[in-house]
Symmetry: C2
Subunit: 570 residues, 2 copies
């Protein structure tokens, strides 16, 4: 491809709309353009990357027993009503009506359609297992679309659904997909981790997220420092197994102390000269059914996902100042579990081990000291409801946990019978018994993976594509196209590479070399080949590795073998 013909308009300025680096670079390097909030056109360079990711995904899905099909994007509301999700799904669902006033949605996911399809077409155990997938635009009407392709309203997904006879079959399909996903991201050339995750609204039991590691990632991962252990989890999920026991300390007498203006844990700790570990932090949450008081140690944070799961509630938010005043009789900052009426108390595991602790007194500017669980207040639910932190012991092996940031690019779920039961997808087993099909679902964000690859692989000059998903492998830059010898040699190098099957761009624009180097760095193909005056004189060209900046002089007559060799090493 010639740069003079390639539609890849680069920008010198960082677009104001772009908050994060992948968004900035995708715009600047001419990969995408914004059409509406969270809606983008993929220009030719981006489409080449997406196709390579898709191809890797297809190969791995097929190799692991998947069959590709394509379901519609517009989905009739009927099946969503049957599954019950039409009413439950919030404003994230794009809804529309056809000319006959019938309801449709733009598919955010395809559990209903695929389950109904399998319900119609599968009758016998002989037809199972079945793994069906598609790669397609998906839709989610985000309240605040942002971060470019990381949180769009139209995005590309691979979604696979597995259909098995039983949980054992599901476990096999799940493991197949875990392996396939590992292969996909490995082949894409990304550093990533599969982590245990919370299954959230989709339901089901086990689930893993595949995280591309990047400092800009919005997810926090905790992983065991011991590689042989392998434990890794989204911080939302990271579980605790350690049971604390009380110290032998004598229980002292409960007493009220005045703590004027001390609202925060830090203020109270300083004021009373106690460690935050001795303080009971009391937070009031509202669910769709009740207000609860959640207790964690002063040095901990509530994990709202664990809290939701423990309460079996759908929605959860911190109570407002008015509610806090009504329930505690005090301003925010002075709530505590002692004599707290009319709400249930849910305490983190660590709370029951506290002796002679400090808590709010439900009275302005006042705290209690020598608070002791059971003696001074009743806990309704004891559960793991706090955030685990780096430095704590690994719940699997006891070594120390470390922290990393990641971008979720894939997730695999065990759905069980959640959809097949309500939609009636069954099969007959060997003895003619009707059984419910057991399902799993498995997603990869394709456009998101492209953006995550950039978050992980870039420098101040631009993108650094992993070879496997680079839009082109090599850009050939004649320093001056006006110099006939340079132009001729650049063409010669270009044709040698193309004939060797190497995906190559020649930057044949009559621009200054500096402009062309800048664009080459910005677009980020793995190798740049510079053809200047010296090259012409010595029949040698300079090959520059984008990732390391290393330059090597290579004779023109073996440039293609050198390039193939370098690409293999990168």
């Amino acid at each position: 491809m010639r740069t003079t013909e390639l539609f890849a308009p680069t920008l010198r300025e960082v677009p104001a709309e772009a908050e994060i680096v992948s968004h900035q670079l995708l715009l600047r390097a001419g990969f995408i353009r914004r059409e509406a909030a969270g809606v983008y056109t993929y220009l030719p360079l981006a489409l080449r990357v997406l196709k390579k990711i898709n191809q890797i995904i297809r190969e791995e899905m097929d190799r692991h027993g998947g069959q590709e099909l394509q379901m519609p994007i517009i989905q009739s509301a009927e099946l969503w009503q049957e599954s019950g999700r039409w009413d439950v799904y919030g404003p994230e669902l794009f809804r529309l009506k056809d000319r006959h006033d019938r309801d449709f949605a733009l598919g955010p996911t395809h559990e209903e359609i695929i389950t109904a399809l399998v319900r119609s077409e599968v009758n016998s155990y002989k037809q199972l297992p079945l793994l069906l997938y598609q790669i397609q635009n998906k839709y989610r009407d985000e309240r605040r679309p942002r971060f470019g392709l990381l949180r769009g309203r139209e995005f590309i997904m691979k979604d696979l659904y597995s259909f098995d006879r039983d949980e054992q079959g599901l476990q096999l399909s799940y493991q197949k997909m875990h392996d396939a996903y590992t292969q996909v991201f490995r082949r894409c050339g990304l550093r990533f981790r599969p982590v245990e995750a919370d299954s959230g609204a989709i339901g089901g039991s086990d689930t893993h997220e595949f995280m591309v590691l990047a400092d800009s990632g919005e997810a926090t991962i905790l992983f065991c420092e011991k590689e042989s252990c392998g434990y890794a989890a989204n911080v939302e999920k990271a579980a605790l197994t350690n049971v604390l026991t009380k110290t032998g300390e004598d229980l002292k007498q409960l007493a009220e102390v005045s703590t004027p203006g001390a609202h925060t844990v830090e203020e109270v700790a300083n004021f009373l000269h106690v460690s935050p570990q001795k303080i009971i932090k009391t937070l009031l949450y509202e669910t769709e059914e009740e207000v609860v008081a959640a207790l964690v140690r002063g040095d901990r944070d509530v994990n709202e996902i664990k809290l939701s799961n423990a309460l079996h509630c759908l929605h959860l938010k911190l109570a407002g100042a008015g509610t806090v005043q009504d329930i505690t009789g005090a301003r925010v900052g002075f709530a505590g579990p002692v004599n707290l009426k009319s709400v249930r108390i849910i305490a983190d595991l660590e709370i029951s081990a506290l002796v002679n602790a400090v808590s709010g007194a439900n009275k302005d500017d006042t705290h209690l000291i020598n608070v002791n669980p059971v003696r001074d207040f009743t806990i309704d639910i004891i559960a793991d409801i706090r955030m685990v932190q780096a430095g704590e012991p690994c719940p699997r092996c006891g070594s120390t946990l470390k922290e990393a940031k990641g971008i979720e690019v894939g997730q695999i779920f065990k759905l069980g019978d959640k959809y097949s039961k309500v939609l009636g997808a069954t099969y007959l087993d060997e003895s003619g018994q009707k059984k419910t099909i057991i399902m799993g679902c498995y997603g990869i964000g394709v456009s998101r993976t492209m953006a995550a690859a950039i978050e992980q692989n870039h420098d101040q000059d631009g993108i650094i594509w992993p070879v496997a998903i680079a839009p082109y492998h090599v850009v050939v830059v004649p320093v001056s196209v006006k110099d006939e010898n340079q132009a001729a040699m650049a063409e010669k190098v270009y044709h040698r590479l193309v004939e060797a099957g190497i995906e190559t761009v020649i930057d044949d624009r009559p621009e200054r070399a500096g402009v062309k180097f800048k664009d080459a760095d910005l677009i980020g193909c793995p190798l740049r080949i510079t053809v200047g005056a010296k090259a012409v004189a010595n029949e040698q060209v300079e090959v520059r590795v984008r990732k390391t900046g290393e330059t090597i002089m290579v004779p023109v007559d073996r440039v293609e073998s050198f390039v193939l060799d370098q690409l293999g090493k990168l």
Copy 2:
């Protein structure tokens, strides 16, 4: 692939919902399933066919200078308002609102988005020409979706847009695409014709449709019997160039005759013993602005598209009985141009050559004889407004026109400045002058092409895929999988073929041979290889050609070379 693992559920019965053969066979052979009216899931076999068509299209678009990108499916209303089409486009446009109540449409076509993109990114003549395309789901909310994939509401399209400096550049791009389309349909193995067509609502000047020839086609094509001439046109477009002159006959005196109960041309001709060629057929049409009287000879039919174009109107329909009564003072069947007040008269070219003709008298049960244009009535517009018929002379060379039926699978348009002008897509030429970009647009219905291929290539037993777009090339059928020797030889043949890169299915189901043969014919792969008892005895297998029914015995040890050879010949 093994049939026991392939998700291709075949049906024995012809589904009641399917009116035409491609729809029936796509359902029966397990290629598609209906999700809603005009909305389908493409099962694995269909997706394989679609991907092959897409690949051929991509190769030809790229070879002819196209660059692939991908625009969004959901389009903000703003650009459509800017182009004026938001209000003009009828209920065929799927419209929706996002959570912030902003208007969007599901793209039926992408002129607005691509023109706005080029408006932002192209400034200089150096960036032109530019040919950009995508392959994507498109949406049209048909009032009555039917014929399966031939008239769906969600369908797959390739749309390319060309951007040139001037009409001359457009002509080159147009010719490139004409060539590319010819290659695409040739490579798909289809019999087709490019035909002149009417440009209709998209506007612009030249346009050609690419028609797959099939008796079930809804379009009528007229083409010159002389191959060297090459004239071919959609009957809607087929033009007339022959000028008729009046006979030398003396003009006789206008007279009224009673024609009780004679409404139709045939009845009047019989009653008055005149040829239909002597009768003036008068039809009243309503447009959005007026009622007009359209006159054609009794042996001709009005071509409503030509009539619309001649009147420059958007909508056109035959006037109802009430309007006819109001304007002519008579029942339907007795309208005529003489003394017809208050409407404009538009007459076909042939009308002005009539002498002593017959027409309705605008009076019940009465006609006029010896009607002569100019003397007896005034014509407001003379134009070519009739249907051309097979048997008439070719407008290019004068030879005889023949008729064929076709299915439109592609259309290419010269848009000119229709979109670039209103959206302000300009460039600076060599002298710094601002000029409007000149555009063309070029569509291929991908899913429609798959259906058209079936309409053209099938028999009573099922589909007969052209090799280039067949889902698989060969199906290997062991007559009895319970016979270990047969099963083993079938596996051997299967592996030889797969290793030779031949796309092969082995029907390893424990079904009767008859069932497997029926399914093989239904699905329609080009070759079937039967492995029975005789095959095992002689180390020979039977290769059957789906298209001809021919069977050839082939030694197992050279089955793959024979198959490759056969596929090359088909």
